[in-house]
């Protein structure tokens, strides 16, 4: 009877944890060969401008999507035709114009750090800390 109660308690805890954390992916390990950069935009531009990421390192290459505020770039930097190789959140390799990027440093939290990581869903992500 006591074993049954323990099993029920374990199941209840597991269900609760799944409910609380089910939506979140967690970092599994650091992503070597990449570092964080951020978009090189003014505050006003951050609110309005869309920075395209492309499938190949040239301006006429197809647009894969738009860059987020913070980007995982290949490090040491891989620069081709004025484009820097980066990793899109989907895991795809993309290229961003180099003058659109600057080193990560939060304006409102200068001590913050950003590290590319492999997340629990197997995709790349960014981990922020101090």
């Amino acid at each position: 009877m006591r074993g049954f109660a323990v099993a029920i308690a374990v199941l209840a805890c597991a269900a609760l944890a799944g409910r609380v954390f089910g939506q979140e992916v967690r970092p599994v390990r650091p992503l070597s060969g990449y570092k964080c950069m951020m978009l090189n935009l003014t505050q006003q531009q951050f609110m309005t401008v869309r920075v395209p990421v492309r499938a190949q390192p040239f301006a006429s290459a197809p647009e894969v999507g738009w860059a987020g505020a913070n980007v995982a770039v290949r490090y040491p930097l891989h620069l081709v035709n004025g484009f820097i190789e980066a990793l899109f959140p989907t895991g795809a390799t993309v290229w961003i114009e180099s003058d659109r990027l600057r080193p990560y440093k939060s304006l409102s939290d200068p001590a913050a750090t950003c590290t590319p990581a492999i997340m629990s869903n197997g995709k790349p992500g960014l981990v922020f800390a101090h």
């Binding site: 978009l39 505050q43 609110m47 860059a67 987020g68 959140p89 989907t90």
Partner: protein, 298 residues
């Protein structure tokens, strides 16, 4: 019936037979039977008298007389009947949109009715919903946006930001042009030029277009079915910040994720120092209610 079957005779038969053998009891049994038949007839008449009732107005509400700790006060405001309860994901009971009246820039009151009810309470609400559907946007997403931004009131904002959806002049112009490019038939329905920003029905087209673009951008970035809450960051903080917010974990701070915004800009948008992404999401969800988890694209 043989002796064995007689031995199994039910007890109530035996009682009945004993009673019927009792002097005067036959009359009693007859009276009881008459009463039983009368009662049965009355029941039948009651049942056949039932007719379907149509609910007129909101259902009777429980009036609490003792406050329950931790439970916010919810007031039901009877208003326009919500014909979109299906898309709203609720039950039409008027519990969505527990806005606190601190819209991002409009400072409007979202009240405690559903976001769709709030939108439908406006003279232009039905047109806005039709516009959203025409563009492929969930009407609840559009409703939640105006509830948070202005309480669905056509108000001025700071700088070039204005209207029920509180869009900047530049974003409004870009989005209305894009919507018209996608569907030229909309041209006959809008107020042309920048004046359309202060015509809520026209601005709703631009807002729906912006929501759709936001959802598609997040889909490209790997967010499977972007919700109203996911796209809220995009609408509020722009494309780059919106994508970063949608992909961030709840325990990270807004300052870490929205790296390009200063403390002053964050404060102007109601973000306090040290506020986590999870706290921001909870705050937004509280304002827009059960529309928060719904998909933006219909």
């Amino acid at each position: 019936m043989d002796a064995r079957e007689q031995g199994r005779r039910p007890w109530w038969n035996e009682i009945g037979q004993r009673l019927s053998r009792t002097p005067g009891c036959r009359r009693t049994s007859l009276s009881a039977a008459t009463i039983a038949v009368g009662l049965a007839l009355e029941c039948c008449r009651g049942a056949s008298g039932q007719v379907p009732a149509t609910l007129n107005g909101p259902p009777v509400q429980v009036q609490p007389y003792v406050a329950e700790p931790g439970v916010p006060l919810i007031t039901i405001n009877p208003g326009t009947v919500n014909p979109f309860t299906g898309v709203d994901g609720g039950d039409g009971s008027g519990t969505e949109g527990g806005g606190d009246g601190t819209g991002d820039s409009g400072g409007g009151t979202s009240g405690s009715s559903t976001a769709l009810d709030t939108l439908l309470g406006q003279s232009w609400g039905a047109t806005a919903i039709a516009n959203a559907e025409q563009l492929g946007v969930n009407p609840s997403a559009l409703a939640a946006t105006c509830v948070v931004e202005s309480g669905c009131q056509n108000v001025a904002g700071s700088g070039t930001i204005a209207g029920a959806f509180q869009m900047s002049a530049a974003t409004y112009t870009a989005m209305i042009n894009q919507a018209l490019s996608n569907d030229p038939s909309l041209a006959s329905e809008i107020t042309p030029g920048l004046a359309g920003q202060m015509d809520p029905a026209t601005e709703s087209i631009a807002a729906a277009e912006y929501l759709m673009q936001g959802a598609e951008a997040l889909q490209n970035a790997g967010v499977g079915s972007p919700t109203v809450l996911d796209v809220r960051g995009y609408y509020n903080f722009g494309p780059a910040n919106g994508e970063a917010l949608a992909l961030a974990n709840s325990d990270e701070t807004m300052s870490q994720v929205l790296s390009g915004l200063s403390t002053q800009t964050l404060a102007a948008n109601g973000i306090s120092p040290g506020e986590t992404v999870g706290q921001w999401r909870a705050s937004v969800s509280a304002k827009i209610g059960n529309a928060a988890g719904q998909s933006v694209l219909s």
